[in-house]
């Protein structure tokens, strides 16, 4: 029973005793708070080792890595004299000779310290083609002998091109929006406003769209396949349900790499799936399932199926059979009963399962790398490429940051629509 509403209590008595009761209540609730605080402190202490581990191995590295997206001191550190010399530069045209001299000095210093390549790489990220020019200039400065450094620098046409010096000036600011803007196919233009990059350079928005499309398609496929299966398992007798659950979980217990490799065997041009389709007469010619969007979606759907299915199943299991019996006995036809009684009750599970799969799909890496074609690489593949191949961690951090923001925004929207407490993840 809920508390008795005040209206049913003796009102005058209440009014009389109110002030005294209030003080009493206050001290009681303060005591309760104190007791609860102690309890909370204790449970927090028990969780402390985990929290520390999470902070050290997860939280701090993520923050440090993501900060690289906006904080890149490489150029500023490598070109201290140039930075100084450029501080008075208007930003248009070429800077004065002092800046060229400072650059020459900085480049020499970098060569001496062995950081020239790092500088070249960092500048290259902002100014494609800069790497070879920087290294060439460094070599020429070294072998110049008596030739004045100013002449050497000026003899390399790159340093007199219109885009070069603004990029350097920009790079001398350690805090930069360059990478984040690039991750969204945007850039600062000459007059200080943000513009879209030319279409031939724009890639990331398209990759983000592709990632979201693949994630949505896989989510939908797992839902269409998983929902009836979850219903079957939830309504099956215990023994059969256990077998079915194991069948669902079995691939779940296999390494994702192994499963992906298995799909490459199945999906390839002369693989089992093509053999079967041909034998059944569904197709006349072998399909290109490998290195294609459709193959990618098939493999990802297989891997993600348990993630969508299990939350749905766990919610379905809590719905007693008498619910549907009641709906039938009250005159609800099967479809009506399903739509008005069953579906609203499993909806939180459906949402949780779909959200889980969708968010996991946004971060898929191995499967698109192995099964997807060149045009099926998702955002994680680009991030991986920047980290492992290009060694441009700033760009990787920027892309990760944008992905994280999108994901959190999506989660926020879901939670807002559904209410976080109704989201039955387990």
């Amino acid at each position: 029973m809920t508390a008795i509403p005040p209206s049913e209590l003796d009102r005058p008595a209440l009014a009389r005793g109110r002030s005294a009761a209030d003080t009493d209540l206050r001290s009681v609730s303060a005591a309760i708070r104190r007791a609860e605080f102690g309890d909370r402190l204790r449970s927090l202490a028990l969780a402390a080792p985990l929290l520390v581990l999470l902070a050290l191995s997860f939280g701090i590295p993520i923050v440090l890595l993501l900060s690289r997206a906006v904080y890149d001191p490489t150029i500023a550190n490598a070109l201290p004299q140039t930075s100084q010399a450029l501080s008075g530069w208007s930003g248009s045209g070429l800077p004065d000779d002092a800046a060229f001299l400072a650059l020459a000095a900085d480049l020499k210093d970098n060569q001496a310290k062995g950081t020239a390549y790092e500088l070249a790489k960092s500048l290259n990220a902002r100014l494609p083609g800069a790497r070879s020019q920087v290294l060439k200039t460094v070599r020429q400065l070294e072998g110049a002998g008596d030739k004045p450094p100013l002449e050497v620098v000026k003899s390399v046409p790159f340093w007199s091109q219109p885009g070069t010096w603004p990029a350097i000036a920009n790079g001398t600011h350690a805090v930069t929006s360059f990478y984040l803007l690039s991750a969204l196919d945007l850039r600062w233009n000459a007059d200080g406003s943000i513009e879209r990059v030319p279409p031939e350079q724009a890639i990331f928005l398209q990759v983000f769209m592709r990632t979201f499309f693949v994630a949505a398609a896989v989510t939908l496929a797992t839902l269409l396949l998983g929902f009836p299966l979850a219903y079957l398992i939830a309504s099956a007798p215990k023994g059969l349900a256990a077998i079915l659950i194991v069948a669902v979980l079995l691939p779940f217990w296999t390494s994702i790499l192994v499963r992906t490799a298995a799909w490459t065997v199945l999906l390839q041009k002369f693989g089992l799936v093509n053999d079967m389709l041909l034998w059944l007469g569904v197709v006349d010619d072998r399909l290109d399932l490998m290195y294609s969007r459709i193959g990618l979606i098939i493999a990802m759907t297989h891997i993600q199926l348990p993630f969508t299915l299990l939350p749905i199943y766990s919610v379905m299991r809590t719905i007693p059979p008498s619910q549907m019996k009641a709906a039938y006995s009250l005159g609800g036809r099967p479809f009506t009963a399903f739509r008005r009684i069953y579906l609203p009750q499993v909806f939180p599970g459906v949402m949780a399962g779909c959200l889980l799969t969708f968010i996991l799909c946004l971060g898929y890496y191995i499967t698109p790398a192995l099964i997807g074609g060149a045009s099926d690489q998702l955002i994680s593949n680009f991030i991986g490429n920047y980290v492992n191949v290009e060694l441009n961690w700033e760009m990787a951090a920027a892309l990760s940051f944008i992905l994280l923001v999108f994901t959190l925004a999506l989660f926020g929207i879901f939670a807002r629509i559904l209410g976080l407490d109704r989201l039955k993840l387990v």
Binding site: Q323, A326, Y328, S329, G332
Partner: protein
């Protein structure tokens, strides 16, 4: 429920009077098997009259819930025919039977408010909105829950939830309402209160109610007739009074109310009575209910039919010693150990003061002793069948 609701339409009393002759609900040779080997229900013949309150009573696994489920349409009989108002319902799905049902766990829809729950059977019948509102209001009024209309079921107590379930099962005015242990989850006091409410609703609305329970006192309190189930069939069908006073088998005698059971052997049968030699010594005269001479039998005697004979009395007299006394306020139960070792419970007045070990003379009229063949199932030997 003193403030009985206003003009609630009496259950479709106007329709099909001819069907009453045949029985409103009729089970003919109905059998149900889940696995093809054992039967949850066997050779069931049962007729329910219009407006009757019939209770299916039995231990778990006796087939009563299976019977109810077949009537509701959730199970199909393996053999036999069930008719409702003279029509076979064999091919009628549950949603076309127009039978209200109340479940043990209430089966309220947790995602709907109380009002929406009660409105559900009306809205699936495509009744117009204004009409639904009036009828839902009337139904909630009937179970005194009008002010709880916008609550969720989980915000109500067990008794209130069950009243919502009642309103929901009655709001579309079905002529037959099934109740599957509806009060099983409530505490004793609330259960007794709800028994009265359900009984009053039944009287007021004139609906036919088929009620399943394993609680014999509930069955006796509420029903017009009780069908006692055992091993998938009806052991006895009759009014509560019949079942209590003239049980036809050892099972019914021990299942309904409290009974002393004495084991013995039939010496001879004379007319309606027989002489039974009790195991371990002693003899008793009892009514013969299907016993044969020389056969083992159980003699059932109600505790309140036993007396402590001070003076010479006609009938059976058994010497015993007091083994214990249980004080119950308005009366006491005396445990009397017979010379043969069997123990009888005797209902005595609250003022009786016997000490343990004191000899007593227990008496009873032969007409109050019923001898049943020992082989017919007793309450202690219920074989498990599938279902329920």
């Amino acid at each position: 429920m003193s403030a009985v609701a206003t003009a609630w339409p009496a259950g479709n009393a106007a329709s099909a009077p001819a069907a009453d002759l045949k029985g409103f609900v009729e089970f003919t040779d109905v059998e149900k098997s889940y696995d093809g080997r054992t039967f949850a229900v066997t050779r069931l013949n049962l007729s329910v009259a219009r407006g009757e309150f019939l209770t299916l009573l039995g231990p778990s696994g006796s087939g009563k819930t299976t019977t109810l489920n077949m009537l509701a349409g959730f199970e199909r009989p393996t053999r036999g025919v069930i008719t409702l108002e003279g029509r076979s319902v064999d091919r009628l799905p549950p949603y076309e039977r127009n039978i209200g049902m109340v479940f043990q766990n209430y089966a309220l829809f947790p995602h709907m408010t109380v009002e929406e729950n009660v409105a559900f059977p009306l809205s699936v019948r495509k009744i117009d909105k204004a009409d639904i509102t009036t009828r839902v209001g009337r139904a909630l009024d009937m179970v005194r829950l009008k002010q709880f209309g916008d609550r969720r079921p989980t915000q109500l107590s067990g008794g209130q939830q069950q009243r919502v379930a009642l309103a929901r099962a009655l709001v579309f005015e079905p002529s037959l309402v099934l109740m599957d242990e509806p009060l099983g989850a409530l505490d004793k006091k609330l259960r007794e209160h709800m028994q009265l409410e359900i009984k009053q609703l039944h009287t007021m609305l004139g609906v036919t109610i088929v009620y399943v329970t394993h609680d014999q006192s509930e069955a006796l309190t509420m029903s017009d007739r009780v069908a006692v189930f055992n091993n998938g069939g009806i052991a006895q069908l009759g009014s509560p009074d019949d079942l209590y006073n003239t049980p036809q088998s050892s099972f019914v005698a021990s299942f309904i109310g409290e009974n002393n059971t004495l084991a013995g052997k039939v010496e001879h049968v004379v007319g309606k009575e027989c002489r039974v030699a009790l195991d371990g010594g002693g003899a008793i005269t009892a009514l013969a209910i299907g016993v044969a001479e020389g056969g083992a039998c159980h003699v059932a005697i109600r505790p309140e039919r036993l007396g402590l004979a001070a003076a010479a009395q006609a009938g059976n007299r058994l010497t015993a010693t007091v083994d214990g006394r249980i004080y119950l306020g308005d009366h006491q139960r005396l445990l009397a150990r017979l010379e043969n070792g069997q123990v009888l419970t005797v209902k005595v007045g609250p003022e009786a003061t016997m000490a343990n070990g004191e000899p007593v003379l227990v008496s009873c009229a032969p007409g109050d002793c019923r001898a049943f063949p020992a082989d017919a199932g007793t309450a202690g030997s219920i074989s498990k069948t599938t279902g329920e």
